[in-house]
């Protein structure tokens, strides 16, 4: 899943990125709020799900994102 996410980051940012679980999406990748929104929408399209705004607000790192996608896909969202 991390490779897919990296590919989506690259597509949205238009440049190659190296990510790990600890990568901070805003701080480390230099995304502004518009970039985050476009990225979230690309993730939503790829995984065919919607991430509610309160969940988006909780996502800080790549690991947070992976957890959110997994929970939403399996329908066990907190």
């Amino acid at each position: 899943m991390r490779d897919d996410i990296a590919a989506i980051f690259e597509q949205v940012l238009g440049r190659p990125v190296a990510i790990s679980d600890d990568t901070d999406i805003v701080e480390d990748l230099g995304m502004d709020s518009l970039g985050v929104m476009n990225f979230v929408m690309a993730i939503e399209d790829f995984y065919d799900l919607s991430i509610p705004l309160d969940r988006v607000a909780q996502i800080q790192t790549v690991a947070d994102l992976i957890r959110a996608v997994e929970e939403l896909k399996s329908g066990t969202a907190a």
Partner: protein, 407 residues
């Protein structure tokens, strides 16, 4: 470090504008002379950014009604309708709004912002789903945060994306409420309401339209985009404001929902704030009568809007997708936008500088709003000033406005 230091990022962006002598947040008019003119720095300045669509702020009948009501009933209600009671003016204004929209119920709020806070936070609750257009106004986002519903954002003006997101919710319990705006306040584009209404019907969602910028502007009788698109029967709730076409301040919601009056005992932004003063209700009521009785206002408004839109577009400026009484020119960056805006003001033209994060796609915009009260001469003067500043800043290669002939 102060407690506000966390917002330092915004200060930096603002300081960058100030460094260029641009201070859009401190434009002080010596006086406002009419719906279309003010005195700024001792100079007569055309107002082309005040959302005064029908130009009713100086209407003599509206002023007279406000004066009468103020003399007769005082300057304020000094409290909420729950605590201090309902004035005759509240009830009559609500009846007039319900009659205008052909709806069973109407409810008046103290501002348009509060109407969205109140309605959005109350119609949906925990376990429900609120579907917002990504470019929604701040009051819609804030309303969504005040309530407990799950908030899902769909791509701006994209019914297919909305449909896809509602499909993903199939089998999930809870009500769905779709929220769109009649005219979006930054670029002046309208929602594809026919298509959104079709999605609403197919998915069993409710539909709310915020007609803040389209009341008195769109539709055969001025009811807004829902009327213009012919889908009023599909729209469950209409929210709007008195502070634009109706020339005062306040907000409202109309609906045919049979238990609509429940809102009056559960909607906190309605219950826990002072109600509108008698003078405001009286002028608003009179302005609504004018809106209904004088369709020529809308004709003049669209004539002016189209003239400005066509003129700016012909000069080569990047404008929005359709001519409406909001016309925005996209600038390459925030500093250029700020300098352009300042030069317009110093040349006698007041418009709005709109910069991120308040704008779609982080654009820097020169936002104008047009009034029925503008004369053709004022629109042409505005175009000349745009052309002049545009040339000075190297935007216009040639004077294409003249080449475009009589607009």
């Amino acid at each position: 470090m102060t407690i506000l230091a966390k917002h330092a990022g915004y200060r930096q962006a603002y300081d960058a504008l100030l460094a260029h002598g641009v201070d859009p947040l401190n434009v002080r008019f010596d006086s406002v002379l009419s719906p279309t003119e003010g005195l700024w720095n001792g100079r007569r300045t055309i107002l082309l950014g005040t959302n005064n669509y029908l130009g009713l702020t100086f209407d003599s009948d509206c002023i007279e009604r406000a004066v009468e009501a103020t003399r007769g009933q005082g300057t304020g209600t000094t409290g909420s309708r729950v605590a201090n009671g309902t004035y005759d003016g509240h009830k009559r204004l609500e009846e007039a709004l319900a009659d205008f929209y052909g709806r069973e119920h109407a409810m008046v709020f103290s501002t348009g912002y509060q109407a969205n806070l109140g309605v959005l936070s109350t119609l949906v609750g925990r376990g429900d789903h609120l579907m917002l257009d990504a470019d929604s106004h701040a009051s819609i986002y804030d309303g969504s945060r005040l309530g407990m519903a799950e908030v899902i954002r769909f791509r701006h003006n994209n019914p297919d994306d909305l449909y896809k997101r509602l499909r993903r919710l199939e089998g999930v319990p809870g009500d769905r409420l779709i929220v769109v705006e009649g005219i979006y306040s930054m670029l002046g584009d309208t929602a594809p309401l026919k298509e959104i209404a079709a999605v609403k019907r197919e998915t069993g969602a409710y539909l709310l339209v915020d007609e803040a910028h389209s009341l008195g502007v769109l539709g055969r009788t001025g009811r807004g985009l829902a009327e213009a698109a012919g889908v009023e029967a599909d729209v469950d709730f209409i929210v709007g404001t008195f502070s634009k076409s109706l020339g005062s301040v306040g907000g409202f919601c109309v609906s045919d929902s049979p238990d609509f009056d429940l809102l009056r005992i559960v909607c906190r932004p309605y219950m826990f704030t002072a109600s509108l003063p008698p003078g405001v209700m009286a002028s608003t009521h009179e302005a609504l009568k004018k809106l209904r009785a004088e369709p020529a206002l809308r004709v003049n408004l669209m004539r002016n809007a189209t003239r400005l839109y066509d003129g700016l577009t012909a000069m080569g400026f990047q404008t929005g997708p359709e001519p409406n009484p909001i016309v925005a020119v996209t600038m390459p960056d925030q500093t250029t936008a700020g300098v352009f805006w300042k030069m317009l003001l110093e040349s006698g033209l007041y418009i709005n500088l709109a910069v991120p994060p308040a704008t779609p796609a982080n654009a820097s915009l020169l936002r104008t709003s047009i009034s029925a009260a503008h004369t053709i001469q004022q629109i042409d003067t505005a175009l000349d000033i745009f052309a002049d500043v545009g040339r000075k800043l190297g935007f216009l290669q040639s004077d294409r406005r003249r080449a475009a002939g009589a607009l």
